[in-house]
Amino acid sequence: MTVLLSASGVVKRYGGITALHGVDFAVQAGQVHVLIGENGAGKSTLMKILAGIETPTEGSLAIDGALVQLNGVRDAAKRGIGMVHQELNLCPNLTVAENIFLLGSGSTLLDKDGERDAARGLLARLRQTIDPDRRVDTLSIGEQQIVEIAKALAEECRMLILDEPTSALSEAEVEVLFEVIGDLKRAGVGLVYISHRLEELLRVGDAITIMRDGRIVANRPAAQASVGWIIEQMLGENGKLQREGREPCAEGTPVLTLSGVSRGRDRGGAALEDVDLQARAGSILAIYGLLGSGRTEMLEVAFGARKAEQGTVTLCGQDITGLSIAQRVEKGLLFVSEDRKAQGLFPNLDVGRNMALSDLARFARAGVVQPEKEVSAIGQMIARLGVKAATPQVAITALSGGNQQKALIGRALMPGPAALLLDEPTRGVDVGARAEVFSRIRQLAQDGLAVVFTTSDVLEALAIADRIVVIAKGRITLDVAADQASEAMLIGAANAERAVAI
């Protein structure tokens, strides 16, 4: 086996903080090297060094056995190293082809037809039929991710780093990605693959490396690794993942109902067809569906962020179909978006102010915010959800994904809602924090809240929810109590055309 790239004794310090303590890492041709670790373990720093984005404080890199110094991303790319970042870096106002060939060709004139054909070819290689002339802002997040990958493949790379490429993909799209990875392996490309979805890592990986606190703590061929082993190594002594025995909640009164909701397909949104939904007090309802199935649209219609042509939405028996978002919030219906960066966070406000915003009026007298009231409410919410922030004055952007998510859930809880809608609450949240987020959500339901969340992860739905609704192509195909559902049943329903019998 040929080692394409190796790093030895890599140390990286930022000011007084050491992010990497002497790491050895190698990427081999035709292999997928999986890198696992909790957020802050040093994975991203290591990858940035391999991709030439950062230079190591100590240690060396070698390509094909020869010592090299990477002078920036451009230099790394020249040597055949490419990287797909976790965050989407596309221009929403440009077409798919324009994004893939963002800087034009070498000449001053654009070769539009050439670009379009090349883009179509690349997408075909990814087994996708996305039209190269579509504007990126009309694509779903999953499709955008595919375009990102196509963009990276537009160059002949020998080594490709994929940082959480599947976090926004549906299962069908994940399969496609895995086939592409297979193609690349056969072509002798070395891959580094970062993800939080463990089953996926075992499937796709050839070698597994686990990082913790800036060090490599374990290293094994994938054939000899198991999910249990990975979790153990990741968390160290201090945290075996708790899969708590679920106490089934007594099904309370219906809090939020959708009945006969239908909408046509419009810009970037899936259609819904005669959708009924019932969320009850004190229980958790999971909406499981593939990307583009309408799972997000269902929540958005319930919340008033999207219009439905037909159907009614009621909250606590009251018809709220015609109300604005602000009015629904006042009535106790709250929503947390799947897109934290664009639709959740106020990057200019600190953690506390981010959380307080949904219920400012309660902390104010005659429009003037009373700091004592606000600070104490924020403090209580931080404690209730276990948000790990040094102080409420820390910038929200400085928190990990899991803690940002808890802060946003905290914001939604501030007004003391009757129902909480969470769209993909664990997107971009690492394994350890995921269990934590869910145990908090569980607690909320036990306190009497009606919780509805969407997921594209069957196991998540089965482990957390009391009841599971499956949506496929805008239709509800299954509505079942979680303890009577199985993985196969859910996946089957998610791919079904009509409602399936239990």
Partner: protein
């Protein structure tokens, strides 16, 4: 195709490198630098004042300081309204024209009164009532900007550019381009005293400076301490997140444009009152100096960042620089070059601070 793709992807990566975070400098030096950057506007003000104090003998005299403060008040009051708009991520290009129109309306009300043709009477409002009416008019024009932005989804730049032309045209139409002179009022009509607003003194300090002080204190309080202020920052930080958190984003936008329009009307009356005359071209390019003041004060044009105190400091820099250069006798053309350079430098430093931040 591959060479094409390759060269493209290299360029893309080069771009990515250029935005990589800077590695930390040695601690002490970096901290001193950060502090300097943080108070750069105050520092700039001190430097500008020091330079002119040396170059112009009368510069630091009380009399001159009061005159400068009066000039600063004009820019600063507009800039305070502009700050709210910019905090939401918008812009208001119509303030200069609204100021001009407000001056004309005030003049017309003083000279010709309000004609109620249905009743066949002419009402001459007292000065306080007239001032209130004109402020309401300014706020209403601001609301119209808000309507364009909210209801018709017109970009703030365009919506307020339209208002810039419409308000200016309306001001011209009122008198066919002529000036309304002698705005002193008439004792018989009970509407004298207008000139106090722009030219009066209270406790030895010009009235416009008092008005600025009251508005600045009020605006500072509103921005920092009220739910409205917090929501303004939230809308500027992420409009979508604000909407999904239950903030009535449209109301916030109506409010900021109304505030900006209302304050523009105040400025228009201050100018007309000081001159005892309303000219329809008055207030031209005021929008630019007030935007400059807001930016000098550290606000981000993309919204969500900026303070009233910063804007005040920015307005002081602009005002002192303008008056100082006149006193020293720098040619008008050089004045423009220098002002432009100062504004651009301020934004460059702002970027630098953000990167170190």
């Amino acid at each position: 195709m591959n060479t094409l793709a390759k060269s493209i992807s290299e360029k893309g990566k080069a771009l990515a490198t250029s935005i990589e975070p800077q590695t930390a400098e040695p601690q002490g030096k970096a901290q001193a630098m950060a502090l300097l950057l943080k108070f750069r506007t105050v520092l700039a003000l001190v430097v500008v004042v020091a330079i002119f104090a040396v170059l112009a003998p009368n510069f630091l005299s009380l009399g001159n300081a009061l005159i400068m403060l009066k000039h600063i008040a004009i820019v600063a009051i507009l800039a305070i309204g502009m700050t709210f708009v910019i905090l939401t991520g918008g812009i208001d290009l119509s303030v200069g024209s609204i100021a001009g129109l407000a001056g004309m309306v005030a003049g017309a009300l003083l000279l010709d009164g309000l004609r109620l043709s249905a009743l066949g009477v002419v009402i001459y409002p007292s000065v306080p009532l007239m001032v209130a009416m004109v402020v309401v008019l300014g706020a209403a024009l601001g609301l119209f900007n808000g309507l364009m932005v909210n209801r018709f989804q017109v970009a703030p730049f365009i919506a307020t550019l339209g208002m810039l032309y419409m308000a200016r045209g309306a001001a011209m139409l009122m008198s066919n381009g002529a000036t309304f002179p002698n705005l002193v009022g008439n004792p018989a009509l009970g509407n004298e005293g207008f000139s106090w607003l722009g030219a009066g003194m209270v406790l030895g300090i010009p009235v416009p400076v008092w008005i600025l002080a009251i508005i600045a204190l009020g605006a500072g309080f509103v921005a920092a301490r009220t739910t409205f202020g917090r929501r303004v920052y939230a809308v500027g930080g992420s409009e979508r997140a604000a909407l999904l958190s239950g903030v009535r984003v449209d109301r916030i936008k109506y409010a900021v444009y109304a505030i900006s329009g209302g304050l523009a009307a105040v400025v228009g009356m201050l100018v007309a009152s000081d001159l005892e005359a309303a000219h329809p071209a008055s207030g031209e390019s005021f929008e630019l100096s007030s935007i400059a003041a807001v930016v000098l004060g550290g606000a981000s044009l993309t919204g969500g960042r900026g303070t009233i105190a910063g804007t005040l400091t920015g307005a002081c820099v602009i005002g002192v620089l303008g008056d100082g250069m006149v006193m020293v006798g720098i040619s008008e053309f050089w004045q423009m070059v220098i002002k432009g350079a100062v504004i651009v430098t301020a934004v460059v430093l702002d970027r630098l601070q953000e990167r170190l931040g």
